[in-house]
Symmetry: D3
Subunit: 297 residues, 6 copies
């Protein structure tokens, strides 16, 4: 069960209100790399996890991410605090309020008009958060890799946000949040490699004849060799031009139909037959007024 | 530019039509771990990538994923081929057609009625594909980690699908697709580690005092130590019960308001004041018919 | 900041695994009336709330909802536990596994194949959770009304789920969760009426001439009078047939265009003019093969 | 059946075109608190309602909301009328057109480029309308509460929009729409309380031992007592620190597995075992170039 | 403004309740080709249309589509009427209710549990309706083409639904709705061709050298010639293998960077340089336990 | 199978970076009328198509659309190239970077912060691409009509974008892409009319008594006659005021309930009965403080 303490995990000190900056901060509140996504990711994994160590770790980190969601949400609330009062109380003229929420450097109109300045579960462009952001599939070696990647992405988004503000209190709190993503990545890395083997993921072996093949599907100037397609590591198939099916078969699909099905398929084909010999007058001909003179409709 | 050859990368041989199985296969056509997501992921990364080796590799693999999308989509089309004709031509009675698309083992009604049996960009539950499935952020060390994770997840989904069908042709084609995910993961791993250093991601250094701290936020029986939170690797903060802000501050948010803003905020607070001393009659009181006798409304 | 204790708020005892039932339970995990929606609703409101009493209450209840999310998610994980192992380890034949996840009474294929049996943030139909489920707008009298309504809805969904299972442990835990929705509704009712006045919401007064008017827009047998449209409470406008604009104006829109704009609008109108006197041959005429003989194309 | 009269319910008079303002107005056309959501909400409830009075009222108000959708959509069309012609006819230079749709105070690029200036079913941030905005569940006491809340929210959004424009015709029409939300709320309130009892919603009684308990889940300075958690109204559980399951049980989940299931689960656990004694070299170690010297890989 | 008459446009007579069939009918209530999409499509076009004939026609048909939405929604409500009562009142045992909503031929669990049997704005697979289904762009020749296509699609979905039920009253009402789609398509065709010219759409002329070229991008057995790529109608470019840019240029992208930008781009490239000469040990090597013996980490 | 050549189909030459313009270009990369939607539309149709000519054509055009996706995505990458480096390397001050991504004429903050300047599958407003944009239903006469409409819409969006930029290289490449939409529309028109008959779509005949009826559902000044509702083409039903069901029936819905169902429905009705004779005190009365003095609660 969860409990809450009214102190933030990291103290938030905002120098001045700035709804435009608040809007950018939404990226880590309700955006795909944000803290809600992180918390939901680890929490849902924890619930289904049976390994005691991983379950404990996932719940530890999920809980911390909720605390981060609170920190970033509080930053947003502080940055919006002035604007929220002004619009609700209509203390300025209409023209001034309009200018404030649509003016240069401030793309906060959605936040202000729709959400009243509260932190909303949207990204900085107003896109509603959705659970498609969470890529857990219930296999620990995959989910840990996904978590490692997610932490690295979140680190970068924080880095970009830090580069965009000179408010020292905001920078410091963002720096803490960014740092914790690094620490979490370290833990997930350890947890992944504490499973041996962890590659290839799952139980079923790949087909050996295709497991270390590299197909050069994009050809032309710019073809580059490196460890990801080197002869040392891969069988490099240099050209797809011949375009044979790699199994040596025809490359054509087959299916066995039951008699009734075959008949229905033929009937459908006949009914919707395309006549390649025709040259029909079309809607575009009608529409362009350029009917071929020789064709009577 | 893309070109297409009419042969499939891997020959598809389906023993008999099965719309229920086709429905499951949608998971890798229009699902989050499916081939469209993979192709879009690598293709969009390739477009923005300037490093020649990574750009080439990303385009090679994106192109192959498109070919895989064709393979899995063709499997779906073959599995649905009979049902498609039957519904379009109404060759069975209504009751029989209804039974066929809603009966046990067949959850294909969406596919049949809405999409006419064609492969649709939905997952096996009918959820529309959306670009939130793609987590690229334009930093190569992050995106490669995301790609590694994505390939591992796709491998597992194929493994599960293979476990659900005994059609040998379908199993074989799925096995090929599964195998290629492993090969792609290998390439992405090589590409990630060909960047040095690649950890921590990005340019900005984490705050050293929090970069190797582990907070035990979930307490109780089940606390487990392992390499992900060991004293060797981390400073383990064993209890959050004290619940102090980790920066040593108050844990309380602050913001500086301009005078006009402060006044508006106060005005708003006064107008929406909650009176803790009151014990108001409420809608629930009215609704339950259990009005306290001592309170006049 | 949040903390977590490894004990559930309510003990979960599941008699036997049942992925089909697990699937139904998703309604309150990742569905619109579920616990994630509840927690996010109150938590985001709490962050922006300045009134100390409401802020405290919102955070108390948000935290409890997270604990409920854990309870319902744990029920799902327990109900899926057997199926999860079977598919991952492929301990049954393909046909048997296929039958198990698609058979009568079990619509869990999405959960099993895509999420590996873990609790996912989807509803029972596979729809991804999205933040459009949360209707907070940052005004306390509105948000409290929204919360009251949300709690009442969640109560009913639990009631329906309880009616669908005879597993006593599941019934009991669901009963607890249902009960807590009632308790939360009571708190929100008290909090709403502790604001006086709270109706009409907001600061701006309605136009008195339309604030107590009832328009009978749906006419015919079945017109019914009651307190919601009674003469005692409303000015009842009995028929819309005359269809005059209620302001007494023309009911036609007007806008003043600048000269350049007017010219562009006229140019656009001329270019896309519809000729009402024509009787053009159309694509449908071409397509039906029923061209009117008297019209040359 | 529906009919339409070409007069608007309220005359729309717009002083000058303003695509930026049009963009804000979308909030009530295609936003979550907008008129389409309202109309759909009441219309779908009406279809399933059997009570004659409620059915009549819901259809009356649904029909009026459609008329409001027409009013707000017409305002948008008028505000965009000039810009629509200018872009379609390219009457300005490219630079001027670019400036007009991206300049300060005008965030209308989506509306202009994608929708050609027509009113679109998006909110002011471009988010597509979706049916997740509608929270009807088919229980009248819940749905009426939801409607009451929805009307109160819509009232506030109109109030905010009115505060942002000084065009008198727009203000007046918005004022009418705002007022009608108040009137509708009054009707829904009457209809809710015309059902007795209406609390708690539904048929199933809550568990008495938890129906009037308040858990203080968020602790620390700021704990506040009020009618929503007063001893008069609730049993106040002051501290969650002991963190016992409230049912007196272990707080730990249980499930009974069948023998085959148990075996599969154990097999899965063994295969994905996490070794807490290990200290594996990880990808992060490789990536940071800081391999511990004492560990051979 | 809209008005409503309590009679349906077409009388609905349902022989017996059938929640499974109700579920299929949702396709035309809240699905992409359904009546809400149709009504919204024409209504939003009508609001922005200035041509009097088209505006009138669009509003006529939009209004009729709302009446159709009422008809199909009423069919759903009738089909669900029995089930709605049973679940709300719990008149059956839990096991019986569970069987009824999850049994063979009945995929109505979402509809029953979440929406209480009311018609919901989802398709038959539970996907929430969203405004992405509406493709209006504010150009009449495009929008009319879109409407023609939409009517043809809706006709087919009704045809499929009719093929799935033998309830004569449902068949008849669906037949009416299907027929009206045909009639609407006829009107839209007439309206399109009443604009001359209407092809190509818009004002800007295509580049003549590419306006009648056909690129044979998909090569191999199966290449087929027909009027869509005949020499009579198109310049057929038979092979893409040479893969030159069609403009005769390099096919390589260029951009002019400012000095500061160029420096930043170089700095970024250097920092994330991929070393093609390396053969790094990777996470996959660690994970597979197959470290190449010759490489020290 | 797909192959890729590193040359673009059309050479992209960008004069200077411009993230604001890049943002607009997203409309045709990840927007509803963009190239991903086009490619997915034709590719999925091709997979299910059995007619050899249409299958070949669909795959030809799908492949070309992928090449167009590459062209438009490359334009975006070039336009963003400078900004991408600046934010990643933080070469400017925070204030300068903030100004650059939020300033007038630049709404690129989502693209920059979240996607790092790479082309993302969103429209110019940040809305995630979703498969609801694709309207294929698996009937060739419908799908070809949908394709014709889609090409015409895409043509217009390109035209609008061309009107917004004066960069000659961008204009030229967009002009090529626009032109190809015209050429594709021509092919789809030919393919549609090569099926005879193609109207009405599908196999089932409409009800003759309603197939050429036009209902004047929107009445009042502005009623206009034209070929879309002329007496020559349609039976014009001039007034809906009488509001009779068009089938001559009652216009009222009927359903036959089984005895147990009828009883449950009655029980539900009784439990949620609305008392039209009451005049209950409501929450609004409580909230407004305007309790009618004569009513005791």
């Amino acid at each position: 069960m969860f409990m809450h303490n009214k102190r933030l995990q990291y103290t938030v000190r905002v120098s001045e209100t700035n709804p435009g900056l608040a809007n950018l901060m939404l990226e880590q509140f309700g955006g795909p790399q944000g803290e809600l996504a992180a918390a939901c990711r680890y929490f849902t994994q924890a619930l289904a996890e049976d390994d005691p160590g991983r379950k404990d770790m996932l719940m530890d980190i999920a809980t911390e991410e909720l605390s981060h969601l609170e920190v970033i949400g509080t930053i947003i609330a502080m940055l919006n605090k002035g604007a929220k009062g002004e619009l609700a109380e209509a203390t300025d003229s209409e023209a001034e309020l309009y200018r404030k929420i649509t003016g240069a450097g401030n793309d906060s109109h959605v936040t202000q008009v729709l959400y009243g300045g509260g932190p909303a579960l949207i990204n900085s462009g107003g896109q509603l958060w959705n659970a498609g952001y969470i890529d857990s599939i219930g296999d620990p070696t995959c989910d840990l890799r996904s978590n490692i990647a997610a932490e690295s992405r979140a680190k970068i988004i924080y880095e970009r946000l830090i580069n965009l503000t000179d408010d020292p209190g905001v920078k410091e709190a963002l720096g803490f949040l960014m740092t914790r993503e690094v620490a979490h990545q370290l833990s997930f890395e350890k947890a992944l490699y504490a499973i041996t083997p962890n590659f290839p993921p799952g139980k079923m072996a790949p087909m050996p004849q295709f497991a270390r093949t590299y197909f050069n599907m994009s050809e032309g100037d710019g073809d580059t060799r490196g460890p990801w397609n080197s002869d040392e590591n891969f069988q490099y198939v240099g050209s797809a031009k011949q375009a044979m099916a790699v199994d040596g078969g025809s490359g054509l699909p087959e299916v066995m139909l039951q008699p009734g099905q075959a008949q229905a398929v033929e009937q459908l084909a006949a009914r919707t037959l395309s006549d390649p010999e025709s040259d029909p007058v079309t809607g575009a001909d009608l529409g362009s007024g350029e009917l071929p003179t020789e064709k009577a409709v």
